[in-house]
Symmetry: C2
Subunit: 126 residues, 2 copies
């Protein structure tokens, strides 16, 4: 690629989403280590986690509770000044999404995710 920096935030977002869909524990842990900074922090209205092991445990827990669900990116990746934003959905591989939201992320000096803060736009009522 002649200009890798222009596509890097999109690649990072897609690599991040792929970690939510990787159910093989060893491959998921390796993918999380590639995309997240060591001290990375995840925050959404329902869950928080910190560091590679904490993030991996959170993702594994969601995969266990929502087997077969797939996370998909639903918007372009918008980025500037080391921050990025993209929409996503979570639900069965086919059929309408169950949960939809927006993730706001920040990148560390090496390009890996330093933080993700997620906001929910659609969620089933209890």
């Amino acid at each position: 690629m002649s200009n890798p920096t222009s596509t890097a935030p999109t690649d990072t977002a897609d690599a991040y989403i792929a970690t939510w869909n990787e159910t093989d524990a060893a491959r998921r842990q390796a993918a999380i280590a590639r995309v997240w900074a060591e001290g990375g922090s995840y925050r959404d209205p329902l869950m928080t986690s910190d560091g590679h092991a904490g993030i991996d445990a959170m993702v594994a827990g969601v995969q266990g509770r929502f087997a077969g669900f797939v996370m998909k990116r639903t918007s372009k990746v918008d980025s500037h000044n080391g921050s990025l934003r993209f929409g996503w959905s979570l639900g069965p591989a086919s059929g309408p999404a169950v949960v939809e939201g927006v993730d706001f992320g920040t990148l560390g000096a090496d390009g890996r995710l330093a933080s993700i803060v997620g906001f929910i736009d659609k969620m089933p009522t209890a």
Copy 2:
């Protein structure tokens, strides 16, 4: 109020938006000092600023270039874990908005804004 913490992020967002609409320099500077932490940082795709004086200079510059424009909040204020999100528009006091976007913010320990990162959803083409 019986539960001030539940409304604080909305109050903070509205006080922040009010700084963009305050054209009296002394009142605007005082309002910025109330709503922003000393080391607060603002980032959007077009502008960056840091600290009370830097943020005030940025806001004053926008007011000078777009006289009569008003910033309005266009969504509820969504908040968790010290972060907040809200939609906004900028344009003439009456008539359709010219620019629309979403601001993501983080709050410092004293409840003032530590950072705002803005993303643009609608902007006129040159």
